[in-house]
């Protein structure tokens, strides 16, 4: 049965490679073939799945064809979108046959029906779920990807420019960076996002500005009918500027299922510093396919702290850092705590292109119940990147007896004078430690919390912001109790 299903999927995939008309003809043929199998072998259900998958694809094509050419802004945006859409048509949705998507089956997600517009977004949403105690921030709220001025606050400060991305098309700096980085990867969701994104934000931290407070972007999923959002962000941190950026993902309790594709391109200019936090707190109905592409210039620092907690059914993060100048430093930290039947996949690329750079990556996964976590970290040290210092570590703790972890640390070195290391461990609770704590009067549940904190400690103690760190530790505790 399974073998057959895969075969069907691949067939559909193959059809995606043709242009639209040919493809539709071909699809008819496949559908007939399926109907035959259906009558012979009772596979009607799978036939339906394939057809529905097809309909999202069709829907997207229709959406692309029907969209109005961008009114304001340079004509080149239409060109970029057009090329991106062609790329997407060529690539199609990924299947588990693709190495980068081996454990990450998007078919169940894309075989559902979604609205592509935000007509059922809620006007009033609660953002309390994203509140970080004792932290004063510049708040930016996106409801189903759309900038909400009423809920946003305190963002009118010197050195910080925040614009809904659809109002940024005519800005020079937007044109200079947009689609220059993420679109060079072969992620089909990036191509699709470039072609069809509707909203997002364009943030600039101007030259020499050191922001007093962190920028807190709250992504709220609210639509009461199933929704597929495509959000696009561009963050530019100009020379010598310093900023902290926290992005929280939450879901309104009464929201319907939603699939969110978020692509963020980040440029960190010379001697600039950006601390970037992802806090994945969304509800079960929400699924995410996120892509973050970071481009760094000389003497710059970029730190990413990527935290996922029980909730969202499906999360895929691609985080790629390109160190395209000398004396660049990048840190990628991750804490993933999963529960229930959750699936969280973190794919990272650290690409050393120039000499004398340093990267440091440490991801920790803790899986409860029947959840699954995936880590795939790839470090490239290109021929030019002599004297590179690259470190990568991934540690995993399986709590749920039926939980699963797939990890793949990768290192590709083309230069000959570098210092690189990578490692990975998979383990369970340390029963000696558990007994030691219990023998001092600490309950088993509390002892487990302490040990998970201890496990995550290597990562959480690197958090630059102590308030966020405390908050994340609290979320870990909460995630264990509820898990």
């Amino acid at each position: 049965m399974i073998g057959l299903k895969r075969q069907l999927v691949r067939k559909t995939q193959y059809k995606h490679k043709g242009d639209t008309i040919e493809r539709e003809e071909a699809t008819t043929v496949v559908d007939e073939a399926l109907a035959e199998i259906g009558s012979n072998g009772g596979l009607t259900k799978q036939t339906m799945i394939t057809q529905v998958t097809d309909s999202l694809y069709k829907q997207l094509i229709r959406a692309y064809e029907e969209r109005m050419p961008t009114e304001e802004g340079p004509h080149s945006l239409d060109e970029i979108r057009g090329q991106a859409f062609k790329r997407f048509e060529k690539l199609g949705f990924p299947t588990v046959k693709h190495e980068d998507w081996k454990y990450t089956n998007v078919q169940p997600l894309i075989s559902q029906n979604y609205l592509l517009d935000t007509s059922t977004s809620q006007a009033e949403v609660a953002i309390g779920k994203a509140a970080i105690p004792n932290l004063d921030t510049y708040r930016v709220v996106l409801v189903d990807g759309i900038f909400n001025a009423e809920l946003s606050s305190g963002i009118d400060v010197p050195g910080l420019h925040i614009l809904p991305i659809q109002e940024a098309f005519d800005q020079l700096s937007f044109a200079k960076y947009f689609a220059e980085y993420a679109d060079k990867t072969d992620n089909p969701f990036v191509a699709l996002n470039t072609a069809l994104f509707k909203s997002g934000v364009f943030i600039t931290v101007t030259k020499n500005s050191v922001l007093e407070k962190p920028i807190h972007i709250i992504h709220v999923a609210s639509a009461t009918e199933p929704l597929f959002t495509q959000t696009r962000n561009l963050y530019v941190i100009e020379a010598n500027a310093e900023a902290e950026l926290i992005e929280s993902f939450i879901t309104e309790d009464n929201a319907a299922n939603n699939l969110n594709s978020l692509v963020s391109e980040i440029v960190v200019h010379e001697n600039a510093k950006l601390h970037h936090y992802y806090l994945q707190l969304a509800g079960k109905q929400s699924s995410y396919i996120n892509h973050t592409e970071i481009y760094q210039k000389k003497y710059s620092l970029y730190n990413n702290y990527n935290c996922s907690f029980p909730g969202s059914a499906f999360v895929r993060n691609n985080i790629n850092v390109r160190l395209d100048d000398s004396q660049v430093e990048s840190h990628l930290y991750g804490v993933t705590l999963t529960a229930g039947n959750q699936f969280v996949d973190n794919h990272t690329v650290v690409d050393h292109l120039k000499p004398h750079c340093e990267s440091y990556e440490w991801y920790k996964n803790i899986t409860q119940d029947t959840s699954t976590a995936v880590f795939n970290g790839k470090i490239f040290v290109r021929l030019d990147a002599q004297k590179t210092n690259a470190f990568q570590q991934n540690n995993n703790m399986l709590i749920g007896e039926k939980s699963a972890i797939y990890t793949k640390p990768q290192l590709e070195i083309f230069a000959d004078d570098v210092k690189c290391s990578h490692g990975c461990t998979i383990g369970q609770f340390d029963n000696q430690a558990l007994f030691y704590l219990r023998s001092r009067g600490i309950s088993e549940a509390q002892a487990r919390v302490l040990l998970v904190h201890a496990f995550a400690f290597d990562v959480t103690n690197r958090f630059a912001n102590a308030t966020v760190r405390k908050y994340v530790e609290h979320l870990v505790e909460q995630g264990l109790e509820n898990g």
């Binding site: 430690a433 007994f435 030691y436 704590l437």
Partner: protein, 254 residues
């Protein structure tokens, strides 16, 4: 205070304790000696509730309460404390946070409110002084990077903080040099009172020069084969464990 009757226990299907009897009253210090493999550490672990040790027969009462049916944490809350032979290093769990959690859980069990931060820190200072444990504890992980001696002293410090009824010292002297041994013993002596009791498990008589026991028991082949006062320890030191093996063997033969 503690009453052990006909205690049988096994590890991985192998019987280690084979009918052990022991009565301990408040205010007493009992030393348990014996050759390697006689079951000394097993006794400590069984009393503390380590799950890999299975009690197959017998009973253990702490002030009339069945200890064996309690979880390890509830035993600790009832006042049992095991000073480990090999204290575990737990990177990422801070000493202070660990102790505070332990004290507050014990207090909650007894229906008391959580300890005030200031009172707690004063207590830490006071008890550290009492047991001469100078290691900096703030911002340090539990036992991480501690020397063997420091780990053992941290056990005595925890003992001072938790103030148990019954403390079991499992070969606390192993791996200690003579100075560290003296300090550990002085700490224990400071903590002795008419309300608490100690079981001192040791292989050598040396420790008992510093912690003077009221009773000495010799454990051999899973049972206590001889009991006496501190002079028994001296006799053992002189004659060696072979003497016990021979006499115990002879008794068994009879």
């Amino acid at each position: 205070m503690l009453s052990i009757k006909k205690l049988h226990a096994e590890v991985e299907g192998k019987e280690i304790l084979k009918g052990l009897d022991l009565e301990i009253n408040a205010g007493e210090v009992h030393a348990i000696m014996g050759p390697n493999g006689s079951g000394k550490s097993t006794l400590g672990n069984v009393l503390a509730g380590r799950e890999s040790y299975e009690v197959t027969e017998g009973e253990v009462l702490l002030d009339g309460r069945d200890l064996l049916e309690l979880s390890p944490e509830d035993r600790a809350r009832e006042g049992v404390f095991l000073a480990f032979q090999y204290p575990v290093e737990i990177p990422g769990v801070s000493n202070i946070n660990f102790l505070k959690t332990a004290i507050n859980e014990i207090r909650e069990y007894k229906g008391l409110p959580p300890v005030e931060a200031r009172d707690f820190l004063n207590m830490v200072k006071e008890k550290q002084k009492l047991v001469e444990f100078e290691a900096k504890l703030a911002n340090r992980s539990l036992n991480e990077g501690f020397s063997g001696g420091e780990k053992k002293r941290n056990e005595i410090f925890q003992l001072a903080m938790l103030q148990p009824k019954l403390a079991i010292l499992d070969e606390t002297d192993s791996g200690l040099d003579i100075d560290a041994l003296r300090i550990v013993a002085r700490g224990v002596n400071q903590l002795r009172s008419k309300d608490n009791a100690f079981i001192v498990i040791t292989h050598y008589q040396r420790l008992l020069e510093y912690i003077v026991p009221d009773f000495v028991h010799v454990l051999y082949n899973g049972r206590i084969v001889r009991s006496g006062t501190k002079e028994l320890a001296l006799e053992l030191e002189e004659k060696g464990y072979d003497w016990i093996k021979e006499t115990a063997g002879a008794e068994n033969a009879i």
